[in-house]
Symmetry: C2
Subunit: 447 residues, 2 copies
């Protein structure tokens, strides 16, 4: 018994070494991402580029070795930014008239050419907003000046704490009569790049929709400093975004059909859509090409999986999650059993571990593989779960897994014009793909 | 007993949290490195910039909180690159006349204006060189076309395998009558940057000194491909480097004198010198500013260390190790006892662990702290030791420790013009400094 266990474990070690060798010498993740990021570029749901990305992903999945590629239809929002936003700070007292680097938040309404001009009330929290109330706020612009807490080791924790001001800030501000709201960009780095990201008008908070945008970290410093010296200063905001009718789009699902259990699935996915201002390289082109690489691994190494293996390029993660919902519905409609679903949507950085669902026994299995990942400097098999695209699958009881790369650089460029291919390190991207490939190999072997 | 152990461990957890909070909000490592890299820049031993760096380091150490700053004299080589190197590939057969991106290796002799022109013999190893012998090699240029093995997870392993062709390649080639030798750049990335680094003429192998340089990865591809089609092609090489008389220089040692054991030392160091072609940002400005930050930590947090704590900016790591030798000699001359010496010379990337000397009981102590580092995602306390600057200290029996950051990006830019400040991520740099600060805090507390 001990002997055969050891033997199996040794076989697994040998298999993982071969898998890593494959990824570190034959992966096409980097060249695929080069195409997706630089030839297609930013690809917000509903845009022509998102449609181009669907066609590209289908082709790339067949090229990688899929025996089947399925397009799963979903209706996605079609929000467009329109003409470049304007945010101008004017203070007669300080003799200031300066343009602040800004970007409208996704789903925001636009002001059109007339713009809005008003005084600014700075707050640090929703509690402070509530205390000030309508009397102070009405007719003004709310400025949520909330910093990332730099003392968190994982930058995602800081993001989790601040993102509510981006998503709900406009509705709360409107509740008290504000005419617009702005946020300090959600970022770990003190630079001049504005970070977009989605917002939602929550009609249970307020029915009025006001325009909302993010200003860069440095612009937020400028505004904060100026407000101290002149609380009567004014901002002029002009945004031209609008919501067009929903558009038919697709998830792209590449499959290598299982040799023994074809109706049981192990999947890994990233999201194909991205914000419009950058190239969607780390968010989440990286996750898409790492997922496509699982097909290349089975094909290239000549391994026949027992279960059906899928690479999923989800549509519409950034502003609607229509793709995640469509995938979950598809699996239900087709009575597919999912053994495990992995999401890679945290950038193409050095892999650090996996967060694994604990409710289905999968975590207990995965931790027995910890030593197999040690030689590849992946030390964390933690309790956790999937990302936004897997929410509906998770609700259907599918054990979900989140791939966790190093987080230090992610929010420097997240949702900015700087999320470009030149920020990708080839080896880091490949090591991430290899970690996912290894985990899927083990799942397929032991489930 | 169990209670007090638990209590002590909790106190340590609290202390480390406070240390990390300090580094992630008050570190001056990033701004110090900005100055060292961008205002001083590349600072090869013996140069004016290296002298400027010594003056700067002294000032920075006092500013950080040193009560004493010692300059330790050492004579260092003064090698200068001179006019830009030329490496031109000419093939009448292929109608080629192209310039290859190249850089002379440190310590190489120059050809002067006359240059050398010869045919090229490509080899993959010293064994192959030996087999070809003088008959084939004499009068030609040897091209060591050896790639990094990309399958190693730590890039330093690939470097360790190939660097011998840089350091000894010229002497072995000269032994068989070659007139020059060139190497494929030691790099993980397929780009057009040539990587320099030191070489040594080993007179036990051959007394003749021939010029030697590195060509970029892409240039090496071009040369290799051209040689397949025309093995009679010629290279013209022109280098203008020369060795001037040795120069007096210094290690800079900043100290916070111990409150209980002032003649017992815990040190952390990086090297102040760098190659001349870049800014020496990751190699090893990062290590220098991380080391200086230990002074800032004790001063800024108001902690009085029991032992004397030192930040050491070693001189001449890149091409002579005179500083490392001078430091070791100084400790001997002054009968100083060193509890532990840490070296940080692997770039300012996300910290992954420490390699700790096993011969002095220090490793057994350090592994008891493993759980304290877990919350900061530092999972590896391994058997290991210090870097090049600590060789002589290690010989004197000092327990040495190597700081180990993530290695994936280091050899992309190592010894190139791309080792610049913009490649530094502030949080990664600070997390590294915090890891070192935490380890020194624990060493000071438990030794």
């Amino acid at each position: 018994m001990i002997y055969s266990f050891t033997k199996a474990q040794n076989q697994d070690s040998v298999a993982l070494r071969a898998i890593y060798n494959f990824y570190l010498t034959k992966s096409t993740a980097y060249s695929n991402l080069d195409y997706l990021a630089t030839k297609i570029g930013g690809r917000l749901s509903g845009s022509q580029k998102a449609a181009d990305a669907v066609i590209w992903a289908k082709k790339a999945m067949y090229a990688a070795g899929a025996d089947t590629v399925i397009l799963q239809a979903c209706m996605v929002p079609h929000w467009v930014r329109g003409k470049k936003e304007i945010c101008t700070l004017t203070s007669t007292k300080l003799k200031l008239n300066i343009s602040l680097n800004c970007i409208a938040l996704g789903s925001s309404v636009g002001t059109g050419n007339k713009g809005v001009i008003a005084k600014v009330i700075e707050v640090k929290s929703f509690e402070e907003l509530e205390q000030l109330g309508e009397k102070v706020i009405k007719g003004n612009i709310i400025f949520y000046n909330v910093f990332f807490n730099q003392t968190h080791v994982k930058t995602g924790t800081a993001y989790g704490e601040t993102v509510k001001y981006r998503s709900k800030g406009a509705s709360y501000a409107a509740k008290y009569g504000a005419v617009a709201s702005i946020v300090r960009s959600m970022t770990s780095v003190a630079d001049d790049e504005p970070h977009t990201g989605n917002m939602n008008y929550d009609t249970t908070i307020c029915k009025t929709k006001i325009t909302t945008l993010a200003i860069s970290y440095k612009a937020a410093d400028v505004l904060h400093d100026a407000l101290i010296k002149d609380n009567g200063l004014q901002l002029y905001i002009e945004t031209h975004c609008e919501k067009l009718p929903d558009v038919l789009s697709y998830n792209v699902v590449g499959q290598i059909t299982g040799s023994q259990k074809p109706n049981q699935f192990i999947i890994t996915g990233g999201h194909l859509d991205s914000w419009d201002n950058g190239q969607g390289a780390h968010d989440d082109g990286a996750g898409v090409v790492q997922s496509i690489d699982i097909l290349a691994m089975y094909k290239g190494m000549g391994i026949k999986p027992k279960h059906s293996i899928r690479a999923v390029a989800f549509m519409n993660e950034e502003n609607g999650l229509a793709g995640g919902a469509a995938y979950a519905k598809f699996t239900k409609d087709n009575n597919e059993k999912h053994i495990a679903a992995i999401e890679t949507d945290a950038g193409g950085y050095t892999p650090r571990g996996f967060g694994v669902d604990t409710t289905n026994g999968l975590y207990n299995l995965a931790i027995t593989w910890k030593h197999l990942f040690e030689p590849y400097l992946i030390q964390k098999i933690e309790k956790g779960g999937g990302g936004a695209d897997l929410i509906d699958l998770e609700k259907q009881g599918v054990p979900c897994i989140g791939f966790e790369p190093d987080t230090q650089r992610y929010f420097d460029i997240h949702h900015t014009a700087q999320d470009t291919f030149d920020k990708i390190n080839k080896r880091e991207l490949e090591l991430g793909a290899a970690a996912i490939g290894s985990l899927i190999y083990l799942l397929d072997t032991y489930k």
